[in-house]
């Protein structure tokens, strides 16, 4: 009997060890590209804001927008309500603009090409995955956008937002800051003041974008923040699927990433937005890593419109992000599918808001949290049904899986319903990985480490299947890699 007990203990210890080892898995995107970079010196004041605007030859209205945002930002304090240990960031110790220097106009530094190649992001169109157009962004500027011309034939605009400001000023001005106003929150105000680049997408009436649009974000320069801004507009009956990926070098200091994504969807249009977030998470002791503080929000303005957010979050030291939907049009639909994996000392506070304003609007939330090591993983959500929004439905399911006894999983949903014809359901569970399942796999000859990867992948499957295919393959691989050694 005692022997049996010892064996069990040994096994448990073994599992723990394997789990702990997971923590040591290396971040494979952590290299630095040695490239000539134009950097505005550290610090933030009105002059810096003017300088960024001037570097981009921006029109007066945009400079005004930035300055207003900057002045508002100065009145705000960094939010502290997240279940996070976000330190007071010294905003004067960050550089707000870094641009890889171009050798010649229109040419891309071969080093840069190589960097994106190494990351698996094809910038040469002949090499490109079929059916995917890419906007690659290094630090503060867009490096290259592929397939723009082909898309232009359909009237689809896909270009860096800095170009869009120049080439389609009316469109940008009409929509910029309309879903996420600069007054929205501290980081939104900061981004509005100093945003450098990002993608702009416009899908005209009735057009189904024939390929996936993708932007790839890379932080390279040291001591630099990245503040990109993405704006997607789908006009009546339009459809687009948009993908976003990101990585950063391994550095000892924390780097700030404060982005804004705005989506506007008109009558019967649909936007599907997928993210695989793999910013550098810091080392196993929690040193370094990206602070990922992002405001993402979509407005279903038209009747029968739809926004679907899918995210796989494995990176960043701290993630603070709530991709949300404002369901204004009647019968509009919002979806949020999320997998967040944290390990080592990572902290994630992520979730969504579904604001039901239109009648008969529907939303679905599926959130899967996985916590390993010493990490903290929180779901935070809001479902609000306005009094006039009759006949609404929401279904929320958020599950947490704990892979270590030193990690935490938390659920903070808020639900407000203002009428009697809507139905809101929320279910949440938190549990340890099922040992019977692991044993079953073991018995079939699968080692514990692989069994955990299998089980976690199965657990995340409901979300993974929402990703476009190529992306799903990448995300599954990423999940397995992140779990390597992470067995428990």
């Amino acid at each position: 009997m005692k022997n049996q007990q010892d064996k069990t203990n040994n096994k448990a210890k073994q599992q723990d060890d394997i789990l702990r080892n997971a923590v040591d898995e290396e971040y494979k995107y952590g290299f630095v590209t040695d490239i000539d970079t134009n950097v505005i010196p550290k610090g933030l004041n009105e002059d810096v804001v003017r300088q960024i605007s001037a570097l981009k030859n921006e029109p007066e209205w945009l400079l005004e927008f930035r300055l207003k945002a900057f002045r508002h930002w100065q009145t705000l304090r960094q939010p502290s309500w997240g279940h996070l240990h976000l330190p007071e960031i010294d905003y004067q110790d960050i550089s707000y603009y870094a641009a890889p220097r171009k050798k010649k106009e229109g040419e891309i530094d071969p080093e840069l090409m190589e960097t994106f190649d190494k990351l698996g992001i094809p910038l040469q169109e002949r090499k490109a995955l079929s059916g995917m157009a890419v906007d690659a962004i290094m630090d503060s500027v867009s490096v290259r956008t592929t397939y723009s011309e082909r898309l232009a034939e359909l009237g689809v605009i896909f270009c860096p937002i800095s170009e869009a400001v120049r080439d389609y000023p009316d469109l940008v001005r009409k929509y910029l800051g309309k879903v996420v106003p600069y007054t929205d929150n501290f980081f939104a105000a900061l981004n509005s003041a100093v945003f450098s680049d990002g993608s702009f997408v416009y899908i005209p009436k009735g057009v189904r974008c024939p390929m996936e649009l993708s932007s790839y974000f890379r932080i390279n320069a040291a001591q630099t923040g990245q503040f990109e801004r993405t704006l997607i507009v789908a006009d009546d009956d339009a459809y687009v699927s948009y993908l976003e990926g990101c990585t950063a070098p391994m550095r000892d200091e924390n780097q700030l990433h404060a982005a804004i994504v705005e989506i506007i969807v008109e009558d019967r249009a649909e936007v599907k937005y997928s993210t695989v977030q793999n910013w550098y998470p810091g080392d196993k002791d929690g040193k370094g890593g990206i602070y990922n503080l992002v405001t993402k929000r979509g407005l279903c303005r038209g009747d029968h419109s739809k926004i679907s957010w899918t995210q796989v979050e494995t990176g960043s030291a701290i993630t603070w992000k709530y991709p949300s939907c404002i369901l204004k049009g009647d019968y509009s639909v919002g979806e949020f599918y999320s997998v967040a994996l944290t390990r080592n000392r990572q902290e994630a506070d992520t979730g969504t808001k579904m604001i039901h304003l239109g009648k008969n609007t529907r939303s679905t939330i599926v959130s899967k949290g996985i916590s390993a090591g010493y990490s903290q993983n929180s779901y935070r959500g809001l479902v609000r049904v306005a009094p006039q929004a009759t006949g609404c439905r929401n279904y929320t399911q958020c599950d947490s899986l704990l892979l270590s006894d030193t990690s935490g999983a938390h659920t903070f949903p808020v639900i407000e319903v203002g009428n009697d014809s809507s139905i809101v359901e929320h279910e949440a569970t938190t549990s340890k990985i099922n040992e019977d399942q692991i044993f079953y796999c073991n018995q079939r000859g699968i080692k514990t480490e692989d069994a955990v990867a299998l089980i976690v992948n199965g657990y995340a499957d409901e979300v993974m299947t929402k990703l476009p295919m190529e992306f799903a393959v990448e995300a599954r691989r990423l999940l397995s890699v992140s779990l390597e050694g992470s067995v428990g």
């Binding site: 270590s404 006894d405 139905i423």
Partner: protein
């Protein structure tokens, strides 16, 4: 001037009177309460855990406090007769915040001690010294305010191994001709292997006068003790209630708290449970039926500080007319607490277009080998079931009523006191067909 300042000012002015008319055990708690209040502010609507309720507004009216302990010219045992057959309890009255204990109350107590805090100061000083004010958290300004102003209250002390055969009923009557705040205090100490069932009934006599019931309840459940606490509010639309319950559970103890609101004005119920001994089980149930402009706001917090415990929560609301309901619950499982099983449920029916429900069920978990889940729904009656019943000739109104009663039935069935359970089924039925308003006196014993 904010609302707290008026009461702090009152205390400073009448400090000597307050303390002269109160037992030493309560006076000893006041300095810390005053300190806590020095920088405190009452939470405003929209603050964390106060999404739907404005505490400042609740305390804002110019309430009088009976600091001089004027005796009421009434015998509550006369005005509230409890003579319904089947419900046999040991009955103790509290008229506003003044306890009245008659000789007959103490019959059949089987060794359980029920005393005013003033009496207990003389008879059971060690119990008071060990527990009074120990669990109540002064970081909640309403709890600090209660501690600052409370002048008496009740002690229910169940010594080790004592088991009370009869439930102890605390009949609390609120009655005032002028806007009044009553400051109630209850301490329940159940020793090792002790068993006790408590039933608190809150009533308001008369209407048209704003009254506020500010109460703090502390419950200590010792090793293997069982404490069942039923807390029934059947007050009036002009009654505000701010009640904070603190529970500490030791090894193997079992605590059931069932909060029932059938009629009220605005109510805030806080439950705060600390589980400090293994193999303890906690059951928190809540039932609210609100119509008109009733507002019921519940906050529950269960902290699992040790391994191998279970907690189960179920709060149900039926809201009609302009009623507002809110539920904010949190289950905390601390690091190093394996084998804890926790469930938290909140189910709500909105029965009118302008009823509002806010719900915030939360889990905060720092141990992996646990089972924790929560579920919440906000919805309406099942249309299919409605139609089925109507094809059997049941009118729409009756079908609604039957389904609403059915919705509440599992919470009522959680009541472990048979007579009370039957009575509650009956009361809920009456509440749904709108005849409860006509019922006067103690709802449990009602006519």
């Amino acid at each position: 001037m904010n609302a707290l300042e008026q009461y702090i000012g009152l205390y400073r002015e009448y400090r000597e009177v307050v303390e002269r008319n109160a037992p030493a055990a309560l006076n000893a708690l006041r300095p810390a309460a005053l300190d806590a209040l020095a920088t405190a502010r009452l939470p405003r609507k929209g603050q964390e855990d106060y999404e739907a309720i404005d505490m400042e507004a609740i305390f804002a009216p110019d309430y009088g406090v009976n600091v001089t302990r004027l005796d009421y010219d009434i015998d509550p045992t006369e005005s509230f007769r409890c003579d319904v057959p089947n419900l046999s309890t040991c009955l103790f009255h509290t008229y506003n915040d003044v306890p009245h204990i008659s000789a007959t109350s103490r019959r059949n107590l089987d060794g359980v001690v029920v005393e005013t805090l003033t009496e207990a100061t003389a008879n059971h000083p060690d119990v008071l010294a060990g527990h009074l004010g120990r669990l109540a958290r002064l970081d909640d300004p309403t709890v600090a305010l209660n501690t600052l102003l409370a002048q008496d209250g009740l002690l229910v002390y169940v010594p080790d191994g004592v088991s009370a055969s009869k439930p102890i009923q605390l009949l609390n009557i609120l009655s005032a001709a002028h806007p009044t705040m009553v400051v109630r205090r209850l301490l329940v100490v159940a020793g090792k292997n002790a068993h006790v069932r408590l039933l608190a009934c809150d009533h308001t006599q008369g209407s048209g006068t704003q009254v506020l019931n500010l109460q703090v309840i502390e419950v200590v459940a010792g090793r293997n003790a069982t404490v069942d606490f039923y807390d029934l509010e059947e007050s009036g639309t002009d009654t505000s209630r701010v009640s904070s319950l603190f529970v500490e559970q030791h090894e193997g103890s079992s605590v059931l708290v069932d909060g029932i609101t059938l009629m009220n004005g605005i109510t805030r119920n806080n439950s705060h449970v600390q589980v400090v001994g293994e193999h303890a089980s906690t059951e928190l149930l809540g039932m609210t039926i609100a119509s008109g402009h009733q507002h019921v706001d519940t906050r529950s917090f269960v902290s699992h500080n040790v391994p191998r415990c279970t907690s189960n929560q179920m709060f149900k609301y039926v809201l009609a007319d302009e009623a507002i309901g809110a539920f904010a619950g949190k289950v905390l499982i601390k690091e190093g607490c394996p084998r804890v099983e926790a469930y938290q449920g909140n189910r709500n029916l909105c029965a009118s277009p302008s009823a509002r429900m806010y719900t915030k069920p939360q889990l905060e978990i720092y141990t992996d080998d646990v089972k924790a889940s929560h579920g919440t729904t906000i919805g309406q009656l099942d249309e299919e079931a409605m139609f089925y019943m109507r094809t059997r000739g049941v009118s729409q109104e009756s079908a609604r009523r039957l389904l609403m009663q059915a919705f509440m039935s599992d919470v009522i069935d959680g009541v472990r006191l048979d007579v009370l359970r039957d009575r509650l089924h009956y009361l809920v039925e009456k509440r749904f067909d709108g005849t409860l308003a006509a019922c006067t006196g103690c709802a449990i014993c009602g006519k």
